[in-house]
């Protein structure tokens, strides 16, 4: 795609992304008001509702005595300033809490995603190459299996096997408490804590990508242009690399974007099982404490993350596939 069209495409998608984020913020706002009861008590949570001073502060902050549309504007205005409200339980601004925990979640989901994509595509391609033979059946069964297991249970089973029985890997946290590692030692330390959680989150999506890659490669292999390449005398290896793989990857890229939201959502479960200090764990704590401001803050943050990932996959797709119309 020529660069002028590409920039116009990017501008189009950025605009769409901005609109989406506004829509999510509005949805967030509506959720608060849709809950049964006084929005102030919803936001204050069980503990906060007991504190009249906190309630009064909430009412003033959100202008709960004003009409709904004004409240919405106040809310959106607050968001633009990075104000996501206060967490009563933790006694700190939500935005700060999230900012603190976000890197850990990004590390976890990023690693899991990379693992799932790489292994998934590898296994899927392998299965497609050996379709009908035992390698294909084995991979398909494996994929079907991981696809059917709840993520949190896989996590627990991995903990059981590798932590409790074999004692090879640690089962909770992000680094060894008390030992103040720095530099490469810190990285290595975190890495061993990262293995089980990333594997847990990644195995499920690895199964998804493996099945998708396999199906996509089989479909592309039966298309006309592959027959044309054979008729030209192109050797099979080159056909696989230059003709089949590139075309087969297109639906995987699209799907990876769609799945991103699920992946990020799955981090709630994984971080809970492994006590990984990310925003998923934060959401779980918020649930226990009925701290809705925090919960909704995490919701907003994960949604925005998903939208950004969607934008990136769209751009990557448009870059790879010259047929994408700019409009």
């Amino acid at each position: 795609m020529g660069s002028a069209r590409f920039w116009r495409f990017l501008a189009q998608r950025l605009l769409k992304m901005a609109a989406m984020i506004v829509a999510i913020a509005v949805a967030n706002f509506l959720l608060i008001h849709a809950a049964p009861g006084d929005p102030a008590s919803v936001m204050a949570g069980e503990a906060g509702a007991a504190d009249p001073q906190f309630m009064a502060q909430l009412r003033a902050q959100f202008g709960l005595d004003k009409p709904l549309s004004t409240q919405l504007l106040i809310y959106l205005g607050n968001l633009l300033h990075g104000d996501l409200g206060m967490s009563f339980r933790q006694g700190r601004p939500v935005a700060g809490l999230i900012a603190e925990r976000l890197p850990a979640t990004l590390l976890l989901t990023g690693t899991a995603f990379a693992f799932a994509l790489a292994m998934g595509m590898l296994l899927g391609a392998l299965a497609a190459q050996r379709v009908g033979r035992w390698a294909d059946s084995a991979i398909t069964v494996l994929a079907l299996g991981f696809f059917a297991t709840p993520i949190f249970w896989v996590g627990l089973m991995l903990v059981l096997v590798f932590s409790v029985w074999l004692d090879w890997l640690p089962s909770f946290g992000m680094n060894t408490v008390g030992a103040d590692y720095t530099g490469w030692a810190a990285v290595a330390d975190t890495a061993q804590y990262l293995v089980l959680p990333a594997l847990t989150l990644g195995l499920f999506y690895m199964a998804v990508y493996a099945r998708l890659t396999r199906a996509s490669m089989l479909e592309v292999a039966s298309q006309d242009f592959v027959r044309t390449a054979r008729a030209k005398g192109v050797p099979e290896g080159r056909i696989l690399r230059r003709h089949i793989l590139r075309n087969a990857l297109l639906p995987v890229i699209t799907y990876a974007g769609i799945q991103a939201g699920q992946l990020i959502g799955g981090s709630i479960l994984v971080e809970t099982v492994f006590a990984w200090p990310g925003i998923g764990r934060l959401a779980f704590d918020a649930l226990l404490a009925r701290d809705y401001q925090l919960l909704l803050g995490v919701f907003l943050c994960t949604s925005v993350l998903t939208v950004v990932v969607n934008l990136v996959t769209d751009v990557v797709y448009a870059w790879v596939d010259p047929r994408v119309e700019v409009g």
């Binding site: 999510i24 949805a27 809950a35 079907l144 709840p150 627990l156 709630i268």
Partner: protein, 277 residues
């Protein structure tokens, strides 16, 4: 019909899936007979290991029978899975059919709406919804339905769009048939097969979603469900591994069976309609 059955049973995985599902359904139905007590009853010593004549699959931290929990939990999973899928299908089919048939501005509006729901991470939204509206059977079913309907709408819309320009639908228009009659008698029956496959996969993911919600403590507090049992067993996993393992196996088998059935349906429903010359 016989063609369909013939192709379906050729897929061994699908047959296994049907058998397992039937087994789960039977256990769910006869839970009251197999375990004539409430799964919440404390029946004996806590943390009894499995293999005990009293506790086939062991007991949990309060002396509750794990096997009974799994049997009664089957009811919850199947019920929630089926009902939430029905609601999601209802919403999705209506929106998808209207979008596909009306086209233009209405189609655009519905598509933007659908995209919005697909962009939001579904599990997080489900958690938020159930948390805010207080966990109960009703709120869980509604929450799962709300996050699950977008793929249905997309599939139905795609089918309706493709069918609308199919010549037998155009012929119906030229014959002067009413719009309702065309949608109901020409379009929807032909859009059924991808929908059936999708529905079976949706029940599977609804069960996974529900188990995730109850694992986090957002299940209906009156219902013993598999996710809840795993969640309860999480902190004592070193002491009582059976509390977490067996309910997980139950989820795994049920969801796997549904996926296998879905695959079998895909194969069986396609060749019949694709038959040519």
């Amino acid at each position: 019909m016989s063609d369909f059955v013939r192709i379906f049973v050729r897929n061994r995985g699908a047959v296994v899936g049907v058998v397992v599902l039937a087994l789960v359904a039977v256990i769910a139905a006869t839970a009251g007979v197999l375990f004539p007590f409430s799964p919440w009853d404390m029946r004996g010593a806590p943390f009894s290991p499995p293999g005990d004549p009293d506790f086939l699959l062991g007991s949990d931290s309060l002396g509750r029978d794990v096997a009974a929990g799994i049997a009664y939990g089957a009811r919850v999973s199947l019920l929630i899975g089926a009902v939430s899928t029905c609601v999601a299908v209802l919403i999705g089919v209506t929106l998808g059919a209207v979008a596909g048939y009306a086209s233009g501005l209405i189609d655009d509006a519905i598509m933007r709406f659908t995209e919005f729901f697909q962009t939001i991470p579904s599990f997080v939204l489900a958690v938020v919804l159930v948390a805010i509206f207080s966990p109960s059977l009703g709120s869980i079913v509604v929450a799962i339905a709300i996050v699950s309907w977008p793929p249905v709408a997309r599939v139905i819309r795609a089918e309706v769009l493709s069918l609308r320009s199919r010549e037998f639908v155009q012929a119906a228009e030229v014959l002067g048939r009413s719009r309702l009659s065309i949608i109901c008698r020409e379009i929807l029956p032909n859009a059924l097969s991808p929908l059936i496959v999708l529905a079976s996969l949706m029940v599977a993911s609804a069960i996974l979603l529900e188990s995730g919600l109850s694992f986090l403590g957002l299940g209906d507090p009156n219902l013993m469900s598999w996710g809840f049992m795993i969640g309860a067993g999480r902190s004592v996993i070193r002491l009582a591994w059976w509390m977490s393992v067996f309910p997980g196996v139950a989820i795994f088998l049920t969801v796997l069976a549904l996926n296998l059935v879905g695959e079998g349906l895909t194969d069986a429903l396609n060749p019949r309609l694709a038959r040519r010359r």
